[in-house]
């Protein structure tokens, strides 16, 4: 189950029936890029970020597990790692381009785009949203 720190589960008891939306063309979500859209109207509206990494799409609700910030509208940045030599001496910081992070701009919480989870506390996670690509179109189901 997706965990949020403010006590919500992201799965309300009386959620409206799921609906699939065409949100745009495939080429509108570039590699290491995003498309943030609000789906629906009024109190049922949901804002979702769609991301592409290594030619695969991932989508999450735009609500940080920390304090509810707009996590999908922050920096997209590779994970930072610290290199060590064989003697465990630090060789400094490097970007690991094999892992793409999305960063909540409110407080800097980072999430692995492939899992939606914080790299150090995986139970802090974004709510995943179903996304599919078909016929050159991107479709999101909420």
């Amino acid at each position: 189950m997706t965990t949020t720190l403010d006590g919500s589960t992201g799965a309300g008891g009386s959620a409206p029936a799921a609906r699939t939306y065409d949100v745009g063309a495939s080429d509108e979500v570039a590699e290491r890029g995003r498309l943030v859209v609000t789906l629906g109207h009024g109190t049922d509206a949901v804002t979702v970020g769609v991301f592409r990494f290594r030619d695969r799409l991932y989508a999450y609700e735009n609500v940080c597990a920390h304090q509810g910030g707009p996590a999908c509208q922050g920096r997209i940045v590779s994970r930072v790692r610290e290199r060590l030599d064989d003697a465990q001496r630090s060789l400094g910081l490097v970007f690991d381009d094999s892992e793409m992070h999305i960063v909540c701009p409110w407080h800097g919480f980072e999430y692995d785009v492939t899992t939606g989870r914080h790299p150090g506390r995986p139970d802090y996670a974004l709510r995943p949203v179903t996304v599919a690509e078909e016929g050159g179109r991107v479709r999101v189901t909420v």
Binding site: V23, G69, V103, P105
Partner: protein, 402 residues
């Protein structure tokens, strides 16, 4: 093929320093609806504006013609000094935004149409933040000026504080009654502290006075007793506002901003709290309301246990005390941010230790990188509604007479 009805692309795909505060904080509206925050009286006891954005305007309020000339020459001749003249802005502060991951920490560079001065612009930005977070009143402080206690020339620091205080009270406060402040004291100069209280205590919107905590003055020195007496007699709280220091004897060993921030924002107030209590200032001035600002809360039960434990063995070191140190600490006030939330059981114990329903006051610290929205308090599962109302605003109403 076209996108479906009911799909709206957000005009701001990525939030940057140029994004409007109302858009940055739009998600706070979820808390307002969920917790009914519009029904609460919410006072934010610690927030900030960026005084360096208005620095040339502020420097015009310098009293000394010599110092004003120095400032003018610095602004004219030094390529990077147009908004830094005379200031001791520490270079490490530019690490606060985690390499652009938290843009609002670096700058609120959004448009403010019609704002003809820095003061007008600040008021616009503060209103936007208050409205977005359902805050009724906001206590506003400067930012880099929290470092004035480390200025290499204390007399310059005192002059800058005087200029800032005159600018803020004449240019910012009259524009928005929802903005309040506790004005910084030129603490290196006890006589100037008294003059500051005399000059500004009755100004509308001034609800207390502030000691910026990054400094090396012992708060128990005899020279400060007239100041504490004056504040007590006027019923005005004194606040100790923590700040960062990456160059003290301990933090200078640290290689990451996280490390230095986690330590120095707390150790400065731990130091002053220890001197304050062990020297019996609360016994000498029992009516003086004391507020500890922006050190979080986890340090307080640590210090209560630590000081009580040593006091029981060394009572003769603290002869003015008639009860254990923790009792005095429980009668002081604390602002909530940055509230350590990572362990519910520990946080609940901390709030019980400090008697949070009667001593804790919500603070956002907006627009800093570790700010807290009011929903942080409203969502705590172990507080009843009465306690939440007190923390979010009712205790502040009482402490400041709002």
């Amino acid at each position: 093929m076209t996108i479906d009805d009911g799909v709206r692309r957000l005009p701001t795909q990525e939030i940057t320093t140029h994004t409007d505060s109302r858009e940055i904080l739009a998600n706070a509206a979820r808390d307002t609806e969920r917790y009914g925050l519009d029904d609460y009286f919410i006072v934010d006891v610690d927030s900030h504006h960026v005084e360096l954005d208005s620095w040339p305007e502020i420097l015009e309020f310098l009293e000394s013609p010599v110092l004003k000339d120095t400032a003018h020459q610095m602004m004219r001749n030094w390529p990077q000094a147009s908004h830094l003249a005379l200031h001791n802005h520490p270079p490490g502060l530019t690490m606060q935004d985690v390499s652009g991951r938290i843009p609002h920490q670096a700058s609120l560079a959004e448009e403010t149409p019609g704002a003809a001065s820095g003061a007008e612009r600040d008021v616009t930005l503060v209103r936007r933040a208050m409205d977005a977070m359902s805050i009724d009143l906001q206590v506003v402080f400067p930012q880099p000026m929290l470092e004035t206690g480390l200025h290499p020339q204390p007399q310059v620091a005192s002059a800058l504080l005087q200029a800032y205080n005159r600018w803020f009270t004449s240019q910012v406060l009259p524009r928005e009654p929802r903005v309040k402040t506790m004005l910084g004291l030129p603490f290196e100069d006890p006589d100037a502290c008294l003059a500051t209280v005399e000059e500004f205590a009755d100004h509308p919107g001034v609800i207390g006075f502030l000691v910026t905590s990054q400094r090396h003055a012992g708060v128990h020195r005899n020279a400060y007793m007239p100041l504490y007496r004056m504040l007590e007699e006027r019923g005005l709280p004194i606040g100790f506002h923590a700040g960062p220091n990456q160059a003290d004897s301990m933090t200078s060993t640290m290689n990451r901003f996280l490390s230095a921030h986690a330590m120095s924002f707390v150790t400065c107030n731990m130091t002053h709290m220890t001197n304050w209590v062990i020297n019996g200032i609360p016994e000498r001035f029992p009516g003086l309301k004391t507020i500890w600002i922006e050190s979080g809360l986890a340090w307080v039960p640590f210090m209560m246990q630590r000081l009580d434990h040593e006091y029981y063995m060394r009572q003769s070191d603290a002869p003015l005390l008639t009860k254990p140190p923790s009792h005095y600490m429980r009668e002081m006030y604390y602002t909530s941010q940055p509230m350590e939330w990572t362990d519910d059981a520990l946080l609940e114990a901390t709030l019980r230790a400090i008697d949070a329903p009667n001593t804790l006051m919500y603070s956002s610290d907006w627009p800093h990188w570790d700010f807290d929205v009011p929903g942080r308090i409203a969502s705590l599962p172990f507080l009843d509604d009465h306690a939440k109302r007190n923390i979010l605003g009712e205790t502040a109403r009482k402490v400041f007479g709002l």
